[in-house]
Subunit: 480 residues, 2 copies
């Protein structure tokens, strides 16, 4: 009992100190920790297993749209990185340089990829000639490195894991469509599998990716009211491929430019899962993304037959396709409950002598702690229903939270007071000038334009900041 | 027809020039190509898809033995790499160093991981205290970098993809058992899934991994008679963990050393698949590892109903769980056949107007080109049988080749003449001295000790080289 208390007490209350709560959950759930390399993480088994589930689910969605996976080098020659001006300007300050190979200094230095647009373009410049070679719809799962000053687990680190998709197309329309398709793949994946509701749209000029013509984004709202950019999809037009001299000849042997896209989602999304669904007892994983869906916990396991029955139950669950584990260690049940809760395993199944006598088990949901007594013969069916309901409930709860944290403003006073009261998204009109974005950020203490939504509302005729005619309605928010 | 010819002619005959044949197959099957970074490969969709299959199959086998996946940083601080003397000595000449982060020079330089023993030990030194924390059975899928001078696709490149498993255990016996278990996992995977027969054993002192106490290996024989080390499993004892001060307290609170293992398999194995199974028409993929198991090729597809029926067939195959594709492009059937053969897709299914009339299709095996006429209603059942038979036949053929290329020798004259005649493995007795290994290598023009097999034969009382009393029977061979 003492140990149980200690486990839960090691997590700061979410309401008392959100940042500390986050750090505590990451540590106590054993998701990752800092390595000996400043700003680089060790992804531990519990954390990496979530990433593996994300990879499997998202990769399947990618492949359903025709994506092929590849792997390009971890190193980029300096000359290659410099080929596209906006791009190098965006990344030069934060790349790590390799200057020595083996025992000798290198003639040309290489950077560790911060992103791989230049490498993909380099491959295509050598291999794409004809319309028959198009489109190329490629993706790679890898790590990238950006020499950040400040770091936080999953949210910002020097090295992080991600996927980066890169495509080229014969027409503007096809590339634009691909950009939107991938944005929608992210949206559906995050909403359906991660139970995280989103605001979708495109970025303003100043928030776009270095070198992109358009950046589409999906934005989630954390429990502290801060936004988190959860995935982005970029449309490059022809500027990038032109810089690499990628051209194709059509059926009439005429040369044309190609149109490029890129799109990515990173381990940041694990931070979003924590901050959207977690509570004061730790992590809460949506059932569809949980590496372990249920944990069997025997009660009074020293009594005859309990461990046997628990083991049978485990076998039954696994045979039915559930990701199930058992905790038959000599720890007290209360300790086991706490650990299962801290790690966010969606359900636990308690089975003790009385349950066995009555031919039943008790299923406990992680999110609501609701207990359901289930006849042991019906467990494989009922557990699926409970997990599906839990998945749906988690999304609905997060959606209600998001909806109640979206407000609108037509004056700066209104916006300021609303950002002071409670965080969240605030909708407001904007003239299209970066100066106003800067001004709003300064006045609100950090709120940035998160996106221009697909469907804009007309809140007023003028920019909330400068009073000039409004061009767009923008979602504003303070962001991670 | 001209085009078809051209496709096949682009591959040099295996008997004429094996090295050129290999390069041609890699290029024509579009597996990988050289990137702009010297010695680094671009893994293209066809090549990377094979690696994805290997990952999926092997990872499942790992997890069945209790392995957990993690991800540790790509960078290793210089001081960390230097903690184990043999290790740094082994790797220092071939690592790449990062000396600049962002716009500033670094105070301490980092190398890009050539292997991650030091990082795993660093994590454990901070987190392992009690016997309750043991064992740790971790693995990561990642890329590593070694600044090699010469490079060949898959066989040797500066950056390559692999998995590296690292474990620590409370006892010598448990760690030794893990080393052997993983060697067996590799053996079963390579023999069962890749249809590559192996010679298994442990390495001599001079061929061991830097810092290891024992290195177990599985060795395959390529079609040119050269050996290829296909996976290794290392037992470190306590030297490595001791250097990192990893100790655990037992139930009586007494401190003990832990025992370590590591084990890995890399993209080299794709080179083995090519060189064991490929032929003059290109790649031949064992069905269990083929990303695409069958390709539907419509004949006279301009005729009414052919494309419809071919499409239906594709749907039927996919619904039955086959990895199936269709080539309904406007290329000639002969061209499509060649492409399917070059890429090593295990079967193609030809379907034309006559077949449709007779309610049948023609399945053609890639390895033997054997044609089987199958009633269309039985295709999902028959295709599975054909693929299973092909998998078995491929292993049997490779096994017959291996067996016929294992010989033995009791004098150096005999060994030399046998290595001159035909390559392969030669079994011979050895005194245990490195000097004799060097001498044998010099005399035979490069044959090295491949392994001491689990079950040694007694061929003679004395070392084949120096005539001193023999300690072991060794498999010798020229290796990639
Ligand atoms: Zn304005
Ligand atoms: Zn000798």
């Amino acid at each position: 009992m003492a140990k149980e208390k200690k486990l839960v007490e090691s997590i700061t209350s979410r309401e008392v100190d959100f940042a500390q709560w986050y750090t505590d959950v990451v540590r106590e759930a054993k998701l990752c920790d800092y390595s000996g390399v400043k700003g680089c993480l060790n992804y531990l088994p519990n954390g990496y297993a979530i990433w593996e589930k994300i990879q499997a689910d998202l990769d399947k969605r990618f492949k359903d749209t025709g994506v092929e996976n590849v792997y390009l080098p971890v190193l980029i020659p300096e000359a290659l990185l410099q080929k596209e001006a906006d791009h190098i300007e965006g990344f030069a300050p934060e790349v790590a340089w390799v200057t020595q190979g083996g025992l000798e200094p290198l003639q040309e230095k290489f950077c560790i990829r911060p992103t791989s647009e230049t490498l993909f373009c380099d491959v295509w410049s050598k291999t794409v000639q004809s319309y028959r070679d198009l489109p190329k719809v490629w993706n790679q799962w890898c790590s990238v490195l950006r020499w950040e000053k400040t770091t936080r687990p999953f949210l910002r680190s020097r090295e992080f894991l991600w996927q980066e998709g890169h495509t080229i197309h014969a027409t503007f329309e096809e590339a634009e469509q691909r950009t939107l398709t991938m944005r929608d793949v992210y949206r559906d994946f995050i909403q359906d599998d991660l139970a995280i509701p989103l605001v979708c749209g495109r970025k303003t000029e100043s928030e776009k990716f270095a070198g992109a013509q358009d950046t589409y984004t999906v934005e989630a709202l954390m429990h502290d009211g801060q936004a988190l950019q959860s995935a982005t999809s970029h449309f490059f037009g022809s500027s990038f491929p032109d810089a690499f001299d990628i051209k194709y000849s059509d059926k009439n042997n005429e040369l044309h430019s190609v149109y490029e896209t890129s799109w990515g989602l990173s381990t940041r999304i694990i931070g979003a899962i924590i901050m959207v669904h977690g509570d004061d007892s730790g992590l809460v994983l949506p059932p569809r993304i949980a590496p372990v869906q249920t944990k069997v916990i025997p009660i009074a396991q020293h009594k005859e037959g309990v461990l046997d029955k628990a083991g049978e139950l485990l076998d039954t669950l696994r045979a039915a396709g559930y990701a199930a584990k058992i905790d038959d260690s000599d720890k007290a049940p209360g300790w086991k409950f706490s650990e299962q809760e801290i790690q966010g395993i969606p359900t636990r199944i308690e089975i003790g002598p009385k349950d066995i006598e009555q031919g039943q088990v008790v299923v406990v949901r992680r999110d609501t702690r609701e207990k359901t007594v289930v006849a042991i013969g019906e467990i494989t069916e009922k557990l699926g229903e409970i997990l599906e309901t839990m998945q749906k409930d988690m999304f609905e709860r997060a959606k209600a939270f998001l909806d109640s944290h979206i407000d609108s403003a037509v004056t700066m006073e209104e916006m300021n007071s609303k950002f002071n009261e409670s965080r969240g998204f605030i909708k407001a009109m904007w003239c299209g000038e970066e100066a106003c974005e800067d001004e709003i950020k300064a006045q609100t203490g950090g709120a940035s334009s998160r996106c221009i939504p697909d469907e804009e509302e007309h809140l007023s005729d003028v920019c909330i900041c400068c009073g000039k005619p409004a061009k767009h309605m923008v979602y504003w928010g303070k962001a991670y």
